[in-house]
Symmetry: C2
C-alpha cells in the first residue's frame, strides 16, 4: 500500500463537509426510516442481513478493497475463492437457502457456483424422478458434483425450439447419443460451465426413430471428477470476457457423439419408455410454465432494489456535491448550491426514487398472486380438477388454456409484461443515476458502472425484453376477442365477478368508449389508475383492429405490441403501487408523514409516466391535452419540491450497508471525497509503477512494485 | 495458444453461412458504396487510412488479439507501448498531425500521450507568447517534456470559476505560488497526468495582492525529467479504474506551496506585469470562446461516425443472425428469419442508421459555419473592426455580444445544443445497438461494450450535456426578447436580411402564430423542416413567458430549458441533413438510387423524431394529431421497409476496416460464429487454467499456464 504524504493527510474538503450535508438532510425530514425499512424488508430479514454481514466482513476472502482494480483472471480467481468460502460458511453455520442467497447478495458479485446453486439444483429437483434425485441431486447438494444448466447455443438464444444439439435414442443399448452437429450448436453463455462444472443439464432435441420431439433435459458429465479435465470428445471452456458479469465463468460446450444412459434424461414430466422406445407425453407442462412465471416475478421484485442501489448512491452524492450558485441568488452569494436542489437533477432522480418503491410493491403483488394461484392449482391437481389439468396439457402457450385457468394465463402475461418493463426501467435507471453523478459517476469507485454492467443481462435472459412483449400482446388480443364475442352474445359489456382484471378493464373501455373517459387524473388517485387502464384497453383494441380487421401481418405490428405491453406494465405498476399504499399492512405500520411521502411518490411516478407517454394518453382520450400540460408544468414540479426534503431518508430506508454498495459516492456518512482519494491514491496498484515517459525509449516501466502486491492474492 | 480439437475444427455453422447472408444483402441493393464513402470521407482520406492501416497492422505492438482479455495494468502497459511506437512511426514517416490522429483512430483506444498530443500542445500554442513557445512548446513538440491540461478538480467539474487551486503572485521575487488549500482542490480526471506527464498546464485562481482574478493557465513541472519521480511537495498519481477509458492514465495532482517563475503563466491573453504587479486584461476572449465552439463542432461531426461503428456492427450481425420463423409463415416453414427483418429491430436500428448520416452532415455544416465565422473575425481583427472586438471583450457570455457578433453567438449556442444532443444520441444509440445484438452483444467480442464505455465521457466533458442546455436557452430567450422589442418598435415581425436563422424562425413563428401553421409534414420536406423550427420557436416563447411574465425562477425552468435545447438541436440536425441532401456537391456526386435512399433516411430521421416527440409537435400546433398518427402508422413503417434492402450497403459506406472495429459480430465477411468461437476458445487465456471445483478444497487452480503467455507482453 502507498502512504500519502503527511501534508496531504492534513487536507480537508472545502466548505461544508459531506458528512454534515447528509446530517442536515436527515434532520430535515420526518420520514420514519426504521418503519419504512421494516415494511420493505421485515425486521427478521434486516436482522438476518446484519448477522450475515458481520460474518462476511470479518473474513479476508471477502475483502472488497481490490475488487475494482482486478483484471478478469484475478477477479475470477477471487470469485472462486469466495464461492468456496461461501459454501464452507453455509455448512458451518447451517444456513438456509435464503441465507446463502442473502449472503451472496451482500457480496454482490456472481461466483462460479452461481448456476450450480440455482438452476442446476432446481432443475434436478423439479424435473427429476426420485431415482434421479438419488443419483444426481444428492451429490449435487453436497457439492460432490458441480453442475450448470446448458440451454442457449451459439446460434440460438430466445428460440429454444431451434436448438441444434441432438440427443438420439439408441434402442439397442438403451442410451442417448448427445451430439453437436454444427459449430452453432455449441452451448454458449452457460454460467458455471466455463471452468467450474463437471456436470451439466443439457437441453437437446430428443430424437427417437428419426423423429424429433423437441428440446428435453439430459444430465451429462463433462469433466473428470478427479483431474477436472474435459472428458474425451467433449470440448468445454470459458467464452471469454463480457461487458460485465466477469466473475462468472460462462462457458461453451460441444459433444462429439457422447453416449449417456437412459436414466440421464430427466423424466418427471416426459420420458422415453426404454422397452417400447415410445415417447411419453408431459403430464402437466403448466408446472414448468409456473416456474418461469415465478422467476419473472422475482425479477420484478428485485428490480426495485437493484435500482434502489443506484438511486441511493446518486441521491446521497448529489446531496453532498455542490456546484454553481443559484442563478437567481444575489450577486454576492458565493455559496454553491447542492446539486440535488437543481430541478433538472430532481426530474431525473426522483421519478426513479418513486420507481424503486413502485417496482418493489409490484413485485410483491406479483408474488402474492403467484402464491395464490399455486394454491388453487395444487388444490385442483389434488382434487377433482383432472379435467382442467387434462386440458392444460394440450399445449404450452397461454392461448391454449381453458377458462378455468385464466388466472394463470393472466398471471403469465402480466409477469412477461412486468419482467420486460421493470428490468428495462432498472437497467436504464442505473445509467441515469450514474450520469446524474457527473464526472465521478464514471469512476469505478462510484460503484455504479459495475453494478449496471452486471445487471444488464437481466434485460435479455428469462425472455428478451422485446420478445416478451409479443406474448403479452397475444394474450391481450385474445382477451379482447373474447370480450367482443361475449358481448355479441349477451348484447352488452357488463363485467361479472368471474372476470379477471384484464377482462374487466377491456369491458369497461368498450362500455364507455363512446361517452369518453373524463378521468380526473390530477385530482383523484383512483381515476389516475383508471386512466392507465383505459390507455391499455385503447391500445389493445387498436392492435386488434389492425390484426383482425385490417389483416396486418404479425411482423408489421411488433412496434405496436411493444408499446401495448409497456402500457400494460405501467398500468400494473401504478395499480399495484396504489393498492400497496392503501393496504392495511402499510396503513397500520407507518406513521402519517411517512405515508404522505409515499403517496407523493405514487403520484410522481404516475404523473411523470403520464406526461412522458403523453401522446398515447391524449390519443386514447384518457385525458385531455390540458391535463397533460398541467401535469407537466404544475403537478410534477410541485411533487418534486415536496419530495426533495425526504430524498435522503427515503433511500436510507432501503438499508444498503456501505460494504454492499462499495461506493465512494454513496457512503452513508457522506465522506465522499476522502474515500475517493484514499482508493485512488493508497489502494491503487498502478501507483506502484513508474513510467518511462519518453517515446524514443522502449522501456515502459522504470519501476514496478506490483509483483509484490499481486502475489498476496 | 490453445488449439481446438480436430473434430471441432471440422464443424460448420448451420444453415446459410453468415458470409453468404451478407453477400446476398449486398447483391440486393444498388446503393453505390464507393461514391457514398467518397462523399463521407473523400478519396484522399480513404487512401490515407488504408496506407496507415497497413503500417499499423504489420506492427506487433498494435496486435489487438489480447485487448479484450487484459486487465487494467496490462492494458495501460500495452497502451504506453503503442503510444511510444505511434510517436516513433510519426517521426519515421513524417506524419502530419492529421495522419497521427487518424492512426490513433484506427487503433481506437486512447494512449497515455493523448492529452499531451492534443490539449497540452494546443494550449501552449494558443495561449503562450513567442517566448513561451520557445521555452515550452518546442520541447513539448519534440517529446522532451510530456504534458497535460489540468483543469477539473475533485470538487469542481463544470463550474470552472469555482476551482480551488490558487496561484498567488509574489511581487518580491516575481514568482507564483501554486497551492492546493483543500483535498477537494486536488486536480482530478486529468488525462495523461496519472503516470505519463512531467509537465502540466494548471488552471488556478490567480491572486494578486489578496484579490482573485479568476482561473488562469500556468505551466508547472510535476515530475523529475530523469527519474520521473514526483517533485518535492507535489503529489501526483493515477485516479484508478473507470467504466471505460482505462488505457488512459487520468490523474490527480496536489501542490504544497510550489513556486514557479513569472514566465510560467501563459500570457498571450492576460498577464501580470512583473514590475507593477498589475493584472492586464485579456485582449480578445472571443478567440478562446471560438476554440470551445470548434471543439464542440468536432464532437458533433465525430458523433456520426462514433454511432456508425455501432450501427455497422449491429446491422451486419442482425443480417447474419436468424431466429424464429415468421409467425404468419406457413406451418411447415422451418427456415428461420433474419433478425433484421423484424420490424421491432428495424425500428431500433434504422433511425440510428439515419442519425449517423444526419449527425455527420450536421457536423460538417457546423464546421463550415465555424470556418466562415473565423474568416469574418480575422478580417475584423485585421481591419477596422476594433469597435466590435472592444465590445466583445466586455464579457465571456453570449448575452454580452453586440449585434455585429450575432453570428458567433448563434454559432456558440448552436454548438452547445448540438454537442449535448449529438453525443447523447450517439452514446445511447450505441447501447441500443448492443442490445439489438441480443445476448452476444454482451460479449466483449461484440466490440460494442468497450466502444460505448470509452465514448461515455463525451457526454460529460466539454460541457455536461445537461448544463449546456442552459446556455442554449439563455441565448434563445435573449433572441426572443430582441425580436419582441424590435417588433414593438417597428410594428411587425418582418424578417430582414441581417437576421440569423434563429431570429428568422422566431419572427416567422410570431407572424403566423395566430393563423396556425398547417405544415404538410408528410408531403413536403421543406415544411417538415419548418415544423421543427416552429416547435423550437413555440418552446422559446413559452419559456420566455414563464421567465419574463410569470417571473418563474431560473431553477424551476431547467427541465423546460432541456426540452427547448433538445428541440433546437433536432431542428438544426433536420435542417442540416436537408441542406446537405440538396447541396450541389451531393447532388452531383451520387447516382440517383443512392440519393433516393439518403432521402428516405432524411425522412425517416425527421418523421421518427416527430412521432417520438409527438406531444411538443401537437401542443405547438406544428402539426395535427392525425398527422402524427399517420407518421407513426404509415410513413415510418413504409420508410423502414424501403430502407431495409440497403441497410448493409449503407453501413459499408462508412468503410470501417475490420481491424478497427475489432468485432466478431461486425465482420465485413459475416463469419461471425467462427470468429466468436476462435476468440473464446483459442485466444482466451482463462482456458489455460484448470479449476479445483470442490468447495472443501482451498486449492483454486489445479493448473495455470498463463504465466508463460503473460510474460510475452
Amino acid at each position: 500500500m502507498v502512504t500519502n504524504p503527511t501534508w496531504v493527510q492534513a487536507l480537508k474538503e472545502s466548505g461544508r463537509p459531506g458528512s454534515k450535508c447528509l446530517e442536515l438532510e436527515r434532520e430535515k425530514s420526518n420520514v420514519n426510516v426504521d418503519k419504512l425499512a421494516c415494511l420493505l424488508h421485515t425486521n427478521a430479514v434486516l436482522e438476518r442481513n446484519n448477522r450475515l454481514l458481520k460474518i462476511l466482513q470479518d473474513d479476508p476472502v471477502f475483502d472488497k478493497s481490490q475488487n475494482y482494480f482486478r483484471g478478469r483472471d484475478e477477479r475470477i480467481k477471487a470469485a472462486l475463492a469466495r464461492g468456496k468460502r461461501l459454501r464452507q460458511l453455509s455448512v458451518q453455520h447451517n444456513w438456509t437457502k435464503e441465507e446463502y442467497h442473502a449472503a451472496n447478495e451482500l457480496i454482490s458479485e456472481p461466483t462460479p457456483y452461481g448456476l450450480h446453486a440455482s438452476m442446476f439444483l432446481v432443475t434436478l429437483r423439479e424435473q427429476g424422478t426420485p431415482e434421479q434425485h438419488e443419483l444426481f441431486l444428492k451429490k449435487a447438494e453436497n457439492y460432490e458434483i458441480i453442475g450448470c444448466y446448458a440451454q442457449t447455443e451459439l446460434g440460438h438464444g430466445s428460440n429454444v425450439r431451434g436448438l441444434e444439439t441432438t440427443a438420439t435414442w439408441n434402442p439397442d443399448n438403451q442410451t442417448f447419443t448427445l451430439h453437436s452437429p454444427h459449430l452453432t450448436a455449441s452451448k454458449w453463455w452457460i454460467g458455471s460451465l466455463g471452468k467450474a462444472a463437471n456436470y451439466a443439464v443439457v437441453m437437446a432435441q430428443l430424437i427417437i426413430n428419426g423423429k424429433s420431439y423437441g428440446p428435453h433435459p439430459f444430465v451429462v458429465q463433462v469433466r473428470d471428477l478427479k483431474t477436472h479435465e474435459p472428458l474425451e470428445n467433449i470440448y468445454v471452456g470459458d467464452i471469454g470476457p463480457k461487458f460485465g458479469y466477469n466473475t462468472m465463468d460462462n462457458g461453451f460446450l460441444l459433444f462429439n457423439q457422447i453416449k449417456i444412459p437412459h436414466v440421464n434424461m430427466l423424466a418427471r414430466f416426459s420420458r422415453v419408455d426404454p422397452k417400447t422406445s415410445k415417447y411419453m407425453r408431459p403430464s402437466n407442462p403448466s408446472l414448468v410454465y409456473g416456474t418461469l412465471t415465478w422467476v419473472r416475478s422475482n425479477i420484478v421484485l428485485q428490480s426495485g432494489s437493484v435500482l434502489a442501489r443506484g438511486v441511493t448512491i446518486a441521491i446521497r452524492y448529489c446531496s453532498v456535491r455542490r456546484q454553481f450558485t443559484d442563478r437567481d441568488a444575489p450577486e454576492d452569494e458565493v455559496k454553491e448550491n447542492q446539486v440535488i436542489n437543481y430541478t433538472m437533477v430532481q426530474q431525473r432522480l426522483f421519478p426513479l426514487l418513486a420507481a424503486t418503491f413502485a417496482l418493489h410493491f409490484t413485485g410483491r403483488g406479483m408474488i402474492a398472486l403467484y402464491d395464490a394461484n399455486q394454491a388453487v392449482m395444487n388444490k385442483r391437481e389434488r382434487g377433482g380438477g383432472s379435467a382442467d389439468v387434462g386440458q392444460l396439457s394440450r399445449g404450452p402457450g397461454p392461448e391454449e388454456l381453458n377458462p378455468g385457468a385464466d388466472l394463470l394465463a393472466d398471471l403469465h402475461a402480466t409477469s412477461c409484461a412486468l419482467k420486460a418493463h421493470a428490468s428495462t426501467v432498472a437497467g436504464e435507471g442505473l445509467e441515469t443515476c450514474r450520469r446524474a453523478c457527473g464526472g465521478h459517476g464514471y469512476s469505478s469507485f462510484s460503484g455504479l458502472g459495475s453494478w449496471y454492467a452486471d445487471y444488464l443481462p437481466t434485460l435479455t435472459w428469462e425472455g428478451d425484453n422485446y420478445m416478451l412483449t409479443q406474448q403479452v400482446s397475444r394474450y391481450l388480443l385474445k382477451s379482447a376477442r373474447a370480450v367482443l364475442e361475449n358481448a355479441s352474445k349477451n348484447g352488452n359489456f357488463d363485467a361479472n365477478l368471474g372476470d379477471n382484471d384484464t377482462t374487466r378493464i377491456l369491458k369497461n373501455y368498450r362500455r364507455r368508449q363512446d361517452m369518453g373517459a373524463a378521468f380526473d387524473v390530477l385530482g383523484n388517485d383512483e381515476e389516475l389508475v383508471e386512466a392507465f387502464a383505459w390507455r391499455t384497453a385503447y391500445l389493445t383494441f387498436e392492435a386488434l383492429r389492425h390484426r383482425d380487421e385490417e389483416k396486418r401481418s404479425w411482423n408489421s405490428l411488433l412496434v405496436d405490441f411493444y408499446r401495448l405491453s409497456t402500457a400494460h406494465a405501467q398500468y400494473m405498476v401504478v395499480k399495484n403501487f396504489y393498492g400497496a399504499l392503501f393496504s392495511s399492512s402499510l396503513q397500520s405500520s407507518l406513521p402519517k408523514p411517512t405515508k404522505e411521502v409515499l403517496h407523493q411518490l405514487f403520484r410522481l411516478y404516475s404523473l411523470h409516466t403520464l406526461e412522458r407517454e403523453a401522446s398515447e394518453f391524449f390519443q386514447s382520450a384518457a385525458c385531455t391535452v390540458r391535463q397533460i400540460q398541467l401535469a407537466r408544468t404544475k403537478s410534477v414540479p410541485q411533487l418534486l419540491e415536496q419530495i426533495r426534503p425526504h430524498a435522503v431518508r427515503l433511500v436510507d430506508s432501503w438499508m444498503f450497508p456501505d460494504w454492499q454498495l462499495d461506493s465512494s459516492l454513496g457512503r452513508y456518512d457522506g465522506n465522499v471525497y476522502e474515500d475517493m482519494f484514499k482508493r485512488a491514491s493508497e489502494d491503487n496498484p498502478l501507483n506502484k509503477v513508474i513510467f518511462d515517459p519518453y517515446p524514443d525509449s522502449d522501456v515502459l516501466f522504470k519501476k514496478d512494485e506490483r509483483s509484490i502486491s499481486k502475489s498476496k492474492l
